[in-house]
């Protein structure tokens, strides 16, 4: 009898080509996703005169620098250079590129699952820390740096030391107006931004099983904000129903074989984890960050902590964060005025996210400016078919094209210095949305409520009598 194995063990061994004496494994990469930011890696490849080892397993997309207001690049020389470099590299190496005008363009972590490039059992790398998103489908997916991107391009493999296994189990039912974003902000607030460092996190429990595929992506996406390079969820019927019929996903006899293989992708009952954490879904409230790190988060019913009351190792960081954010300790987080809002990103830019925001905004007006950037061109088209774009526009928000946009500010969508933004994104770091920008992370529904109220507010009263 073989020893019980975790999902991580199974995915790891399925991709391990060899292991060195020092414990480092050489892993096979099933999908490699590249974007404009991969230019350093292509330059390294050019220096060596190397070819891309597996162009058929390598996919390129314009997302980080994608203009969202108008796709034209004439007025944007820096951005034009980044995108034309990607085009040149994709053409030189024969890669499928999802370019700005492609009906399948979008944020890399949105289009991977959407197109069926991401299916259970794969190992996926991308030069972006939110690659953990794809783990929602039961893959080993992780962000890598430029040198590693060059290595994957040249060899279709990557050297990695196996992380420790950690399981976060969330049992029970989420309350109305509470989402996967709130689960993530809660565990990160509890364990800290370095809490899962060195670990691969598997999410399990009845609350996770009850999540839609898209909500699972949000949960896995934010793993890196708790320090985990990997986040994953065992595939189940929800996963299979999502994957089937997508253009790059297996079909016919291949799908039959895949189903058999995917059925094995779960941690064995007695598998041992290096670390276990349990959360009660019923205790999770809509949550917002107050500081400059994703673990600086409180329930919307809570107060901004007083650094003097925090442990010494957190006090100084909290003081600096409050100073940067222009907030007072001890104040309720609800009622914090915001200057603008943003809905989008690889964390919360999918159709369900837009529906959740629209259900709050329907028939209401935003009292502050804001923009909504769908996670992909397909999400945009779907939203327009459902009339969600009209809800946003009638509420007074800008409906723009898809890309990483104001989550990272590379395309020029930035929050001005000193301005406060309620944002459905993933990082409230200093300067993340622009120099001096003040970011409050929350769910899309919470952002929508903040847009209407002009301040951080509990979304739940806004949902009374509406389908959330």
């Amino acid at each position: 009898m073989t020893a019980p194995r975790t999902l991580l063990d199974k995915l790891w061994s399925a991709h391990e080509i060899l292991r060195r004496a020092d414990g480092t494994s050489l892993l096979w990469v099933d999908r490699h996703l590249v974007h404009e930011g991969s230019h350093h890696a292509f330059a390294k490849l050019a220096e060596r005169g190397s070819a891309v080892a597996e162009p058929g397993l390598t996919f390129a997309v314009a997302d980080h620098y994608a203009p969202t207001r108008a796709r034209g690049l004439a007025q944007l020389p820096q951005i034009a250079r980044m995108i034309s470099t990607l085009r040149d590299n994709a053409a030189r190496h024969g890669l499928r590129l999802f370019d700005l005008d492609d009906a399948e363009q979008g944020i890399v972590h949105v289009i991977g699952p959407e197109l069926g490039l991401t299916v259970p059992g794969l190992l996926i790398t991308c030069g972006d820390s939110h690659t953990s998103t794809h783990g929602a489908l039961g893959t080993l997916a992780f962000g890598i740096g430029a040198t590693e991107v060059a290595h994957v391009l040249a060899t279709q493999t990557i050297w990695q030391t196996k992380p420790a296994a950690m399981r976060i189990t969330i049992e029970g039912a989420l309350g109305p107006g509470v989402s996967a974003k709130d689960i993530a902000l809660n565990w990160i607030a509890r364990l800290g931004t370095g809490g899962a460092r060195g670990h691969a996190v598997e999410y399990s429990g009845s609350a996770v099983r009850a999540l839609s595929m898209e909500a699972r992506m949000t949960l896995c996406n934010l793993s890196i904000e708790g320090g985990a390079r990997f986040g994953m969820i065992a595939p189940d019927e929800v996963t299979l129903a999502y994957v089937e019929g997508r253009p790059f996903a297996p079909a016919g006899a291949d799908l039959e074989r895949a189903r058999d293989a995917w059925a094995e992708l779960r941690s064995d009952a007695d598998a041992a984890f290096d670390r276990e954490v349990a959360l009660d879904a019923a205790e999770i409230a809509p949550t917002a960050t107050w500081g400059t790190s994703p673990d600086q988060a409180v329930p919307v019913t809570g107060t901004i902590p007083d650094p003097d009351m925090l442990p010494a190792d957190k006090a100084e960081t909290a003081r600096a964060a409050l100073d940067y954010m222009g907030l007072r300790a001890g104040q309720p987080i609800a009622g914090t005025r915001v200057d603008q809002v943003f809905i989008g990103s690889c964390t919360n830019g999918r159709i369900e996210d837009l529906r959740a925001a629209a259900s709050v905004l329907a028939g209401r007006r935003a009292t502050v400016p804001g923009m909504v950037s769908p996670g992909s061109a397909q999400v945009k088209a779907q939203a327009e078919r459902e009339g969600l774009d009209r809800v946003f526009v009638q509420a007074g928000l800008d409906w723009v094209a898809s890309g990483c946009s104001m989550c990272v500010g590379m395309n020029g969508d930035v929050v001005a210095s000193g301005q406060r933004c309620a944002s459905s994104t993933n990082r409230n770091f200093r300067g993340r949305q622009g120099p001096g920008a003040r970011t409050h992370l929350m769910s899309p529904a919470m952002v929508a409520a903040a847009a209407v109220a002009g301040e951080i507010t509990d979304v739940r009263p806004f949902l009374a009598g509406r389908a959330a």
């Binding site: 994709a90 820390s129 253009p247």
Partner: protein, 208 residues
């Protein structure tokens, strides 16, 4: 990339926790070609005031020759941008000493010859204390995993594989290509055992 086994240099302390890679290099600088140098982008917005003038009191600005940085917990968390490592290297740094590092940052550092030297929180605090009155010379030795500063000698941690790589200055691609036959065999086995792992709609054929 050249290997190294001992580094003697000037150490400066930045005893803050959670210096993420967005702070190490703000995103707006990342479209710059590397050849132009990333040193001036390092901690750009922390080192300057609102008018872009260098803040004379900021630790890094007091010591432009520093090559060893003593930092707080969770250094290099967040974005996978290797540009954060380029900014440190181009500003002259060879070693960062901290109680913990972001996983992706640490791997990126080692891939570029920059040592992420992990120490206990107590040691980090002691070293920061030694530097409180100003920069000092330190010696960092990979083989013994030791840091020497005046009469103070402390240990640091770094994975075996990473230490070997730093000492030898290995390029992973060269190492990997030695295993080309095993990689090809693995690929063929996977292709026949798991044909579903290949995209149904071929990617490369759609290239423009």
């Amino acid at each position: 990339m050249p290997g190294w086994s001992e580094h003697v240099g000037t150490a400066v302390a930045l005893p803050r926790d959670n210096i993420d890679t967005d702070q190490l290099i703000p995103a707006r600088f990342m479209s710059t070609p590397r050849a132009q140098g990333y040193g001036n982008f390092l901690l750009h917005d922390l080192r300057r005031d609102a008018h872009d003038a260098l803040d004379e009191t900021f630790p890094l600005n007091t010591c432009p020759d520093a090559s060893i940085l003593v930092a707080g917990r969770n250094f290099g968390s967040g974005s996978s941008r290797e540009a954060a490592v380029y900014a440190l290297l181009d500003a002259g740094f060879r070693v960062v000493i901290a109680p913990s590092f972001g996983d992706i940052f640490a791997a990126n550092a080692v891939n570029n010859g920059l040592l992420p030297a992990q120490v206990t929180p107590e040691v980090a605090a002691d070293l920061a204390e030694l530097l409180a009155s100003g920069p000092r010379e330190m010696t960092v030795t990979l083989e013994s995993r030791e840091i020497l500063c005046g009469a103070t000698r402390v240990s640091f941690d770094v994975k075996d594989g990473w230490r070997t790589k730093l000492i030898n200055g290995w390029d992973d691609i060269d190492l990997t290509l030695d295993h080309a036959a095993r990689i090809a065999a693995f690929r063929d086995d996977r292709r026949s055992a798991a044909p579903w792992a290949w995209p149904r709609r071929p990617g490369a054929q759609y290239a423009r």
